[in-house]
């Protein structure tokens, strides 16, 4: 599947931000994303997360015949798999050019710089040697696979333990892990790659480009270095023209970055070794964070009820005592009561009878609900009326309409019935007003 081409405005935006020395994810020019190294249950299994880029490396060993021109050396094979799981731009089957380039850089970084001693992998010269294979799979591509893959590969090689072998004369015994503890590989140094992305023909450079920056860059340079400031591999490509000073500056920046990264790798290896010794649980299930919602907090919305309270107390004072108790209340069902009857529909919708019927019913229900809640909340005037309206809120999506009708209905009622039901509608008014306020506040 071909990757979606990046739009011109997006490209221009990213470039402009870079020219202003800003990155779209808020990092500084020489900052790496969050790097996390974790190990699996088996020895030699390592997952590296660089931001959202996830890479998994697994090391395995096999006994084979050595190469004819190097009879006393084992072999290290590094294979980088770019599957469509990582990104829709990768196609299954034959690796793309960039995939081959990355594979070659990884090989050169680890194999040609002799990071792992191959002579120690020899069992019987000319006949049996260890062939160590590191498979690096890219799980998610969010930019800068190269760095993540190099970290994963060398960390997995350092984490791996091969079975112990004893040679007695002609006999070769391979001990199982239960017999004898597996032996680590002899890793001389840890070469790690640092990728630089260039923009504007080499004028601006960034470290650790993410996926969007990679799409927009002119070219890249990969510097593989180890702790002793030795450059293990250097590759500059992409049809860009650079000057010598830029190359030297990049190698200086790489020195600093590599030191940080290797420190982190060492810490991760030590932590894993401790965990294994202490018999603690180790593996991916422990290290992958569970993205579950464990708490939920809602901030209460503050409503200014001082003016409303004053008005309410004023109205109550002006109103005078209640003459007639609200006794004609018909309880239709638990939670539903009815006081009075519904009025004739004054909205003058003649054509659709269904709608008018529904509206009447709706009005009735909200009236009954509100009235009932009010009836029960006589003592606490202020809070309960607010709650009454919120009760209507829960009942469904037609609530807006309901509230509006309730409003108009109450007002109409107050204008028409001026005798018995004078008191409750009046005290309904501030409640309705509060309700509207709350609605407005919520919106």
């Amino acid at each position: 599947m071909k990757e979606v081409p990046i739009s011109t405005c997006e490209r221009e935006f990213i470039l402009k931000a870079i020219r202003d020395r800003k990155r779209i994810d808020g990092r500084q020019t020489y900052d790496y994303r969050r790097l996390k190294v974790s190990f699996g249950m088996e020895r030699g299994c390592c997952i590296v997360e660089l931001g959202d880029t996830k890479v998994l490396a697994q090391v395995s060993g096999k006994i084979e015949e050595p190469k004819k021109n190097r009879p006393t050396e084992g072999s290290i094979i590094i294979n980088l798999e770019l599957s469509p799981m990582a990104s829709p731009a990768f196609e299954p089957g034959r690796p793309t050019e960039s995939g081959i380039e990355m594979n070659r850089i990884l090989e050169r970084n680890i194999r040609d710089s002799r990071a792992v001693d191959t002579e120690s992998l020899c069992i019987v010269a000319g006949e049996k040697v260890w062939s160590i294979r590191a498979d690096v799979h890219v799980l998610n591509d969010e930019g800068n696979i190269m760095d993540a893959a190099s970290i994963a590969a060398i960390t997995a090689l350092a984490h791996f333990r091969r079975p112990d072998v004893t040679v007695m004369g002609e006999e070769v015994t391979i001990h199982s892990p239960e017999d004898r503890d597996p032996v680590p590989l002899s890793v001389h140094h840890m070469p790690v790659c640092v990728t630089f992305a260039f923009f504007d023909q080499g004028e601006f450079l960034l470290v650790d480009p993410n996926r969007l920056e990679e799409r927009v860059m002119d070219g890249r340079m990969v510097v593989g270095m180890n702790m002793h400031r030795e450059i293990c591999t250097l590759m500059m490509s992409g049809g860009m023209l650079l000057v010598k000073e830029q190359v030297l500056r990049c190698s200086q920046i790489a020195t600093v970055k590599v030191a940080e990264i290797i420190e982190l790798i060492q810490k991760a290896l030590d932590k894993d070794a401790q965990a294994r010794q202490a018999g603690e649980k180790c593996g991916f299930a422990e290290s992958v964070p569970a993205n579950k919602i464990t708490t939920n907090k809602k901030e209460p919305t503050l409503i200014d009820t001082t003016a409303a309270a004053q008005q309410a107390s004023q109205v109550i004072q002006e109103a005078g005592p209640v003459d007639k108790p609200m006794s004609n209340m018909i309880v239709q069902a638990p939670g539903t009561a009815q006081i009075g009857e519904g009025l004739v529909n004054t909205w003058q919708i003649d054509d659709v009878d269904m709608e008018s019927e529904e509206e009447e019913e709706g009005r009735k229900k909200s009236v009954t609900n509100g009235k009932e809640a009010e009836a029960t909340s006589k003592p606490t005037e202020r809070k309960r009326p607010v709650k009454a309206v919120s009760h209507a809120d829960d009942s469904g999506s037609e609530e807006e309409e309901k509230v509006m009708l309730y409003q108009g209905d109450a007002e109409m009622k107050s204008t028409e019935d001026s005798t018995a039901l004078q008191q409750p509608p009046n005290s309904d008014k501030p409640a309705k007003k509060k309700g509207k306020k709350k609605k407005a506040a919520q919106k």
Binding site: D112, R114, I231, C232, L234, L241, K244, S251
Partner: protein, 263 residues
Amino acid sequence: MCHKIRHPRYWLIVPFKMAGLEIISDQGYRIDGRRSSELRKVCARMGVFTQADGSAYIEQGNTKALATVYGPHEVRKGRGKIQHDRAVVNCQFSMATFSTGERKSRPKGDRRSQEMSMHLRQTFEAVIVTELFPRSQIDIYVQILQADGGNYCACVNAATLAVIDAGIPMKDYVCACTAGFIQDSPLLDISYVEESAGAPFLTVAMMPKSEQIVLLEMNSRLHADNMEKVLDLATQGCKDVFAVLDRHVRDHVSESHALMTAS
């Protein structure tokens, strides 16, 4: 070049380091008698083939490379490759089976040759003025006839001459050279023996006049402090290669001109 020891079971190729020969002697001479900052002898010929639009043959010491250029022509395979504003450069690299000490069949889809092809393509895409030929394709085919170190450099130099022979405009020459670092001294133009000794070497392809680096590749371990020395030496080597190639091109053109006007 290498000793072939006859063993009852199989042929063994013994690299020189086992024989105890030094890469650089006390007087400062290398195995082939050069000094540390001397290039190998460069012989070049342009216009060796009649069918191709441009062709060149180059010998750098014992490394022999042939390059042919076809184009610019219509994009043949894959309509999807057509670029509306520039030409597409297509490179193919291959090593003949008889090119190395041991006869080895190399399939075309081999990782090494694919990587080399990609590097060549990137190099020439940066240098050829592709904006002049929209919707067309330029093919560059390079073949190594004898490999004695510096394969990529010979390819780039041969391809440069071939592109000039084809008359395709370029921003500048592209010259490539290797420089290594053995026994605390930088060496120019590494041969196969010195390569297989395991020492670090740097391959640089650059445009000599502006000193802009088009491609940079380094193998094995080199300390960061020595980087500048090696890079400087490689730059100097590229400039020397440029001098040789430029002189050859001018001679070739003046010869052809003389032949055409003489009749």
